[in-house]
């Protein structure tokens, strides 16, 4: 019978590795969230803009990103993209934490494409008379969006955005493929250094689950506190 040794997880070197991994995972998720929200908003507005070139560009962006797995994005941004850059930029990049940077780029692009769709469907649920009335009052497209449409669509948009946050949290694990020392990577490191596979993966599972649970609770709290108003 396998001897499950909890003390490995509670203190010592392996404990430190795992905690460092968890902290880096959280950092990756937060950093991605900060960058992808404004980007998603921009893409959503472009997709609904009256200019057809902007619309086409936004559709191309969303479709090309969403139909390719995150792993392929990560591989491209880590192995592929730096090769195109000129030599000095490459050298500068490799002196720094190029793994983490590529994983954040891949995560931001991927997450923002999904979030843009959620924001767009929130905006589309607002009756189009709101836009027409705003425009008739003399506001421009962007001003109507900012002052009239977006504040109203917020209640509808936040819950799906929170569930995208949950996906983002789970997606950070894929960064291990390119060697970012996040939760899953550290769990594997602990496993190969100590052969304590069950302990290491239990820690990682518990960590992922507890943050996922927090995000789920946040979502249900929000939906209770700010329910969607029916017109």
């Amino acid at each position: 019978m396998y001897n499950f040794n909890l003390s490995v997880l509670l203190s010592g070197q392996y404990h430190d590795w795992l905690v460092a991994g968890l902290l880096l995972s959280i950092k990756l998720a937060l950093l991605t969230l900060i960058f992808s929200l404004p980007m998603a908003l921009l893409i959503a507005v472009l997709r609904l803009s009256p200019v057809s070139i902007f619309r086409a560009a936004a559709i191309a962006y969303v479709e090309s990103i969403r139909n390719v797995p995150l792993l392929a994005h990560m591989l491209f941004w880590y192995f592929g993209a730096p090769e195109i850059l000129p030599e000095p930029v490459k050298a500068w990049l490799y002196e720094r934490n190029v793994e983490a940077a590529s994983s954040v780029i891949a995560l931001v692009l991927y997450t923002s494409a999904y979030m843009a769709e959620d924001i767009r469907s929130g905006i589309r649920s607002i009756p189009k008379e709101q836009m027409e009335a705003g425009r008739a009052l003399g506001f421009g497209f962007l001003d109507t969006m900012r002052l009239v449409i977006l504040p109203q669509s917020l209640r509808l948009t936040i819950p799906p955005l929170i569930s995208q946050m949950l996906n983002l949290w789970k997606n950070t694990s894929i960064a291990m493929v390119i060697g970012v020392g996040e939760m899953m990577y550290q769990a594997q490191q602990v496993e190969s250094a100590s052969f304590r596979s069950y302990e290491a993966f239990s820690f990682a599972t518990a960590a992922y689950l507890s943050i996922s649970l927090l995000i789920t609770l946040l979502s249900s709290w929000y939906q209770q506190r700010y329910p969607v108003r029916s017109a």
Partner: protein, 229 residues
């Protein structure tokens, strides 16, 4: 990019087959299709438990689904990787490991789709079947499920798209599906990673975008038909 395709095109499509194990794009598609095929009955069973009137069935399954949906697929793959050999007693190959992980993971997600499909039907369907003398199971199998499954077809195609994308994670346990094969080609050539990974992205795009258009078309077809009824 054309040079790469000329030299490695066959390897990219089918791996080392017929001189070795099947791999590449063919393996990706087979894996995704098998995963969906096996995940469907699992998802159906989980969904039945999830909406069953017995708390004995409902509560543990609800818990299980929450746990699976709260963990990354990578975690499930690692558990399968370490648990399966212990449970079955002999070494499991990468394909079975990945398939098992995908069936469990997709089963949990499918069960939510199926549950939504069943709960989307008017309650009157179940009630009238029951009042005609059918048992709970009979009314489920004969009346509710056929209607629910029809409405779910577009979601099932979307789930297949997710499956195709998820198989890429086989890369981590060195399963020779298309991402892993692309990695191998890139290591052999050394100098063209950008082109190879662009090609990889393009491959996934063609498959998944085609499928998503198909789902969209299916949705419209179904909408047209239900209006007539």
């Amino acid at each position: 990019m054309f040079d790469i395709l000329k030299n490695f095109g066959v390897f990219y499509l089918i791996g080392q087959y017929p001189h070795g194990p099947l791999g590449g794009l063919a393996l990706t598609l087979i894996l995704a299709a098998l995963a969906l095929l096996f995940a469907l009955p699992v998802g159906l069973l989980l969904a039945m438990c999830r909406i069953s009137p017995f708390p004995m069935l409902r509560l543990p399954v609800t818990g299980l689904i929450y746990v699976i949906r709260g963990t990354p697929l990578l975690m499930v793959i690692f558990w399968a990787y370490f648990l399966l050999p212990t449970l079955t007693g002999h070494k499991t190959d990468q394909f079975s490991t990945m398939l098992a992980a995908l069936v469990i993971f997709d089963g949990a997600y499918l069960s939510e789709i199926i549950r939504a499909g069943i709960e989307g039907l008017p309650r009157g369907q179940m009630e009238s079947a029951r009042s005609l003398g059918f048992s709970y199971l009979q009314s489920m199998v004969l009346v509710v499920l056929p209607q629910a499954l029809r409405n779910m077809l577009p979601s099932l195609v979307n789930q297949f798209i997710s499956s195709v994308k998820e198989t890429s994670l086989g890369y981590i346990i060195s399963l020779s599906e298309v991402s892993f094969v692309a990695g191998q080609i890139s290591t052999q050539l050394m100098t063209k990673p950008a082109e190879i990974y662009l090609l990889l992205g393009l491959t996934y795009f063609v498959m998944c975008f085609g499928l998503s258009r198909f789902a969209f078309w299916l949705e419209r077809q179904l909408a047209v038909r239900s209006v007539k009824v």
